[in-house]
């Protein structure tokens, strides 16, 4: 199952910090993502494209999870070594495109 089949999301940032939000379609999808997307799992999942610890925040009332990567964008937007500025606006697809086994 693709994460993006049961959730949508958005990328944000502040300085060195990458901040990803996922919102599930319903409570069951939220529970599924909550179970599978542990901080350790997500940290491994995005490595080596992102080299950072992950802090996860839960907002069950809104079926939402947040994943905050404190050292993913060293030096911030203008120090990026990617082509152009603001590559991180697409970083949510690290999560949305991830395939996992819902069992």
């Amino acid at each position: 199952m693709r994460v993006g089949d049961i959730a949508t999301g958005r990328s944000g940032d502040k300085g060195d910090i990458l901040d990803l939000s996922l919102v599930a379609t319903d409570k069951a999808s939220y529970e599924l993502l909550h179970k599978h997307l542990t901080p350790e799992y997500v940290e491994k999942m995005v490595y080596p494209a992102l080299k950072s610890k992950v802090q996860r925040y839960e907002v069950p009332g809104l079926n939402a999870l947040k994943f905050v990567f404190p050292t993913a964008l060293p030096g911030g937007v203008y120090a990026s070594m990617h082509a152009g500025l603001h590559w991180q606006k697409a970083a949510i697809w690290f999560l949305l495109d991830h395939e996992f086994n819902p069992q």
């Binding site: 919102v23 494209a49 925040y57 697809w93």
Partner: protein
């Protein structure tokens, strides 16, 4: 609808310095709002403004001020709608004078403009606690001010309030502030509305891909995006609010778009820190009460933050270069991959963490986690970014790309090269009581 009395009707006219100008004009002309707030100042937008002010004491505000306000001021004057914006950037007082001059030129008489001064804490830098030691040259330091003085200006009759660095949410919460109940949770609600509105079209269907499911809205067309309505809110005295978009404007306002914007860039949703309050979003609820209308309830205060945040701008020597060369036609993929390898041979003396070589169209955005491509892309661009100590180093990297046109795989084309200074934004903290702020008035 809330049973609580209406505190204000506020619209979102811009979410960044370069945002569209027409959505704000449409909101004001609708008569549906009493105040339009425009967020026009990203962290780094302050840097060119600081430099402009150094060269000319009457400059240093948003260079788009005249273009943005020329259509907005007459519409706001006609509809008795107030304007709040941070387009004062590094020089809000000069911005206030410029707005008064512009209004005079536009034939608007008796308009009162208040400029909020005090966010520039460069002179107070000894009192700032930085999160890391400063290793380069500090060129500016600005504290994030709250909504109290902006609210005061509006209550004292300002038609326009112009600021420098304030919390984005403060711009939108200010018109409600004086009309809220005394509960801290009411202000928490107004600040939450501010956070929802501060990114303009990102609340109303922009930067949003709906997902499958029973509640999936119809997708926005190119024409819808081109004419996207920006959000507005009715904020009630208890801090609850109805969030919507003009009835005749394209957009999506539903529980998902509101949730995405609520959580955007806040890190810990139980501790959204603003200069006015720490807000807890844990119990926020979004309930549909009509087409494209969401009722927001449940914001809670977690008390005053101990300090104000400060953004410091630190210049470092050297440059970051960002260069690309294109390949097209049959075999473009093989030639682009080959060219990237040529560059890896030619630049193998660079430390790995100071240079990045990849291919736009394959892996320049998501890097090692890009999906495998399906079929051969027919046009690609080979990209290098490099951290260069000197302008000569930057030139040598650019020259290596250009040399591919004569000595690399066939058809290297469409070279684009950018070079930017190395600038760090450093966070710091300062006691709020150390940062005096005042309103400077002018009138057309």
């Amino acid at each position: 609808m809330s049973t609580s009395s209406l505190a204000c009707r506020v619209g979102s006219g811009a979410g960044f310095a370069g945002d569209r100008i027409d959505p704000a004009v449409r909101l004001v002309q609708s008569g549906e709002i009493d105040t339009i707030a425009l967020e026009c100042l990203a962290e780094r937008t302050l840097v060119p403004a600081i430099k402009a002010r150094t060269d000319n004491p009457h400059a240093g505000f948003d260079p788009r001020l005249e273009r943005r306000l020329t259509p907005l001021l007459p519409a706001a004057h006609k509809k008795n709608c107030r304007i709040v914006s941070n387009l004062g950037a590094a020089n809000p007082v000069a911005a206030g004078e410029a707005i008064t001059k512009l209004s005079y030129k536009l034939g608007i008489k008796g308009q009162r403009v208040a400029a909020l001064q005090g966010d520039d804490v460069m002179a107070l830098q000894s009192q700032v606690k930085w999160i890391r030691p400063i290793t380069g040259k500090l060129i500016g330091a600005h504290a994030y001010l709250g909504c109290k003085k902006i609210s005061q200006a509006l209550e004292e009759g300002a038609h326009v309030v112009v600021t420098g660095r304030v919390a984005d949410s403060a711009l939108f919460a200010a018109p409600a502030r004086a009309h809220l109940s005394n509960l801290e949770d009411a202000l928490a609600g107004a600040l939450t509305v501010g956070h929802l509105l501060e990114c303009g079209g990102q609340l109303t269907g922009g930067n949003y891909e709906p997902i499958a499911g029973a509640t999936k809205p119809p997708p926005l067309s190119a024409h819808d995006y081109a004419q996207l309505g920006y959000p507005l809110a009715k904020v009630y005295a208890d801090g609850t609010a109805d969030i919507s978009v003009l009835k005749d404007a394209p957009g999506i306002v539903d529980a998902i778009t509101c949730t995405l914007q609520l959580l955007y860039e806040v890190h810990d949703p139980a501790r959204y820190i603003t200069p006015d309050l720490i807000v807890d979003f844990s119990n926020i609820k979004f309930e549909s009460i009509g087409r494209n209308t969401i009722r927001m309830t449940g914001a809670k205060s977690k008390g005053l933050p101990p300090t104000l945040k400060v953004a410091g701008f630190v210049e470092h020597p050297g440059f970051l270069v960002d260069i690309e060369i294109g390949f097209a036609g049959e075999g473009a993929l093989a030639r682009a991959l080959n060219a990237a390898d040529v560059l890896r041979y030619r630049l193998n003396n660079w430390a790995p963490d100071t240079i990045s070589i990849d291919v736009v169209g394959l892996n320049s955005v998501l890097g090692a986690k890009s999906k495998p491509h399906r079929g051969d892309p027919v046009e690609l661009r080979v990209h290098i970014s490099a951290q260069c100590e000197t302008a000569m180093d930057a030139q040598s990297v650019e020259d290596e790309i250009y040399s591919l046109t004569l000595s690399g795989p066939a058809g290297g084309c469409s070279v684009r090269s950018e070079k930017r200074n190395r600038l760090e934004v450093l966070d710091g903290y300062i006691q709020a009581s150390s940062v005096p702020s005042q309103l400077i008035w002018s009138q057309s």
